[in-house]
Structure formats: structure tokens, C-alpha cells
């Protein structure tokens, strides 16, 4: 890892980082509508640095804040990073302990995808990975702050935001990412279980626990079905 490779990684991710702006601005607007200050929005974006889970957390953001539900939903919503980290680890087996938190922090979709491809071809570089992540975290934080600033203007009127469809931004992110992840028949059963359980949880439990309950139920059902099918094939 060198300063030059860090710069090269940062430069390479500069243009892709702009892709975070529509979502970041949407998150900033939604966070402002929930009453978060610009400092809180910037701090959350810089330290959590996981857009979908931040949007999920906003759904739960009612005072008194349900701290356990917030942490649990952020953890579950970020489980894909668990898989990405697992795929990355064999390429960085002797990473020093004090560098590891920085690597984990910048393990996000685009930065991970760009770098894991290089690691698999045998010419990955930690400097490029960290440099790319540095640009991504800065642009994500800037985008959410821009959204927060915009919410102080014309978007501060809830009826104007509603007329412009901005109350749908958060839900749209979930739908769009789900549409990208959808793998056809393999996902139909587990997603149906998740949807049914989430609706039942909303009706029976109330509050916003439906995200965690539906997510866990759908994930566990999908895993059970997948492992049972592969066991049947073996026997």
C-alpha cells in the first residue's frame, strides 16, 4: 500500500461516487423531515456509511428512539456486507489489526465490487481499496448534507414534498435494490414469506418491528429450503 495507490483508488472512484447523489439527497431530505440536524445527518452518513440501512433506520426514527430495534435493523439490512467481507478475507489474510476497521468501514457495494475483481485476478491493492472507499464515504456524506440543505428550502413544505413524490424516495430505494437482487424462482418463496410475516407483524406486534421480523423469517425460510433441497439432491 502506497500513497500513490491510495490516490489512484480515490481518482478511480470519483465518477462512480456521483451515483450515490440521488439516493443521498433523498436520504438527507427524509432525515430533515424526521427532525435530524445537519450535524446528525453528516455524522450518521460518515460513521454508518450504509445508505439502505440508514433509510430503514429512519422508518424506525420516532422518539423515544427504539435503540435495540435500530441497531438490529441496521445489522440485518447490512448482512450483504457480511458476505462481501467473507469473500474479501482470503485476499487479506495477514492484515494488521489497526488497518482492519478502515477496511471494514469502506466495504460497500461499488468499492468492494471494483476491488474484489482485481484481487481475484491477482493484482489487488489495499491502497486502491482504501482510497476508493475514502472518496465514496466523502461523497455519500456530502450528498446527504446537500439533501438536508435542500429540505430547508422548498422541500421543507411536507405537502410540496408529497406532491413531488419525495415521500416515496425511501420506499423506492428498497424496491429498486430488491428488483436488482431478484433472482427469479429462487427468491419467490422466501420473499413471499418475508412479505406475509412483515404484514402479520405490523398487524400483530405494531410499531416498526416488521422489518426485522419479516427479514429474519424470509431469510431463515430461504436458507432452510435451500439446504433441504441440496440435501434431497444428495440423498
Amino acid at each position: 500500500m502506497t500513497w500513490r495507490s491510495f490516490q489512484a483508488g480515490a481518482l478511480r472512484m470519483f465518477l462512480p461516487s456521483f451515483a450515490t447523489f440521488p439516493f443521498g439527497i433523498g436520504f438527507g431530505v427524509a432525515a430533515a423531515q424526521k427532525g435530524l440536524s445537519a450535524f446528525e445527518v453528516g455524522l450518521m452518513s460518515f460513521t454508518v456509511f450504509a445508505g439502505t440501512s440508514q433509510m430503514v433506520a429512519l422508518d424506525l426514527w420516532t422518539h423515544p428512539l427504539p435503540l435495540f430495534a435500530l441497531a438490529a435493523s441496521v445489522f440485518v439490512a447490512n448482512l450483504r456486507y457480511f458476505v462481501m467481507g467473507a469473500a474479501l478475507q482470503p485476499h487479506l489474510p495477514s492484515l494488521r489489526w489497526y488497518v482492519q476497521p478502515a477496511v471494514w468501514h469502506v466495504t460497500v457495494d461499488q468499492n468492494w465490487a471494483t476491488n474484489i475483481a482485481e484481487y481475484r485476478r491477482g493484482h489487488g491493492d489495499l491502497g486502491r481499496f482504501l482510497g476508493g472507499g475514502f472518496v465514496m464515504v466523502l461523497s455519500w456524506t456530502a450528498a446527504t448534507l446537500l439533501g438536508h440543505l435542500a429540505a430547508g428550502g422548498v422541500l421543507s413544505d411536507p405537502t410540496a414534498a408529497r406532491r413531488l413524490g419525495l415521500d416515496f424516495v425511501g420506499i423506492a430505494v428498497f424496491v429498486v435494490v430488491a428488483a436488482i437482487l431478484f433472482r427469479g424462482k429462487r427468491d419467490v418463496a422466501s420473499w413471499s414469506v418475508a412479505i406475509a410475516t412483515a404484514l402479520a407483524a405490523k398487524w400483530l406486534v405494531g410499531g416498526n418491528w416488521y422489518i426485522v421480523i419479516g427479514g429474519l423469517a424470509g431469510g431463515l425460510f430461504g436458507a432452510w429450503r435451500q439446504t433441504r433441497t441440496s440435501n434431497d439432491r444428495k440423498s
Binding site: E40, V56, A86, P101, G165, F174, A179, G218, G219, G222
Partner: protein
């Protein structure tokens, strides 16, 4: 620069939870290896979380959100990407509201 202690505590817990998820796979590889059920659960959980988070507000709000969600799926699958899907979804909801849907 304003911040409430309760909000700061929530942000700290969220940051730790995000870090735990990101670090978890990296660290777990040493112990779990390739355990089949864990790998299968990790494969299915993200999508299940997303549809759970989306379905309740869509059902509760009704018309405009249903049309917006349908447009989002179509645009994302056909135009192939996050940004077009997001813009089409929000634009469709705005048009639906203009047409008088809730």
C-alpha cells in the same frame, strides 16, 4: 451544529451495528468457514429485509405507492440500474398524485 444526546447514542449504536455486519463476515471466515446453512441464510436475508421494509408502507399508503413500486421494478429491470429506477419511481408517484391518487 446541534445534536441531541439520544440521537447521538442512536447514531453510535447504528455505526457499531453497521461495523459489526461489515466486520462479521471477515472475522467469521476464520471460525465458520463455509457452513452451508449460514451461507444460505446470508444469501436470502438481504432481499427479505428489503421487501419487508417496502411492503408495509406501500400497503398502508395505497394507490400512488403501488403504481410507483410497479414502475420502479419495470424501470430497474428494463433500463437496468439503480438511478433510472429511482427517478422513474419518484416521478411516477408525483404523476399519480397529480392525477388525484393518494
Amino acid at each position: 451544529m446541534t445534536a441531541s444526546p439520544e440521537n447521538l447514542l442512536a447514531i453510535l449504536m447504528m455505526a457499531l451495528a453497521a461495523m459489526a455486519a461489515k466486520a462479521g463476515g471477515f472475522l467469521a471466515m476464520r471460525w465458520l468457514g463455509q457452513h452451508r446453512f449460514v451461507a444460505a441464510w446470508l444469501e436470502h436475508a438481504p432481499g427479505a429485509v428489503l421487501v419487508s421494509a417496502a411492503i408495509v408502507p406501500i400497503v398502508q399508503t395505497g394507490g400512488a405507492f403501488w403504481i410507483g413500486a410497479t414502475a420502479a421494478v419495470v424501470a430497474t429491470r428494463w433500463a437496468g440500474g439503480f438511478t433510472p429506477g429511482l427517478f422513474v419511481a419518484v416521478g411516477t408517484v408525483a404523476l399519480a398524485r397529480w392525477a388525484g391518487l393518494s
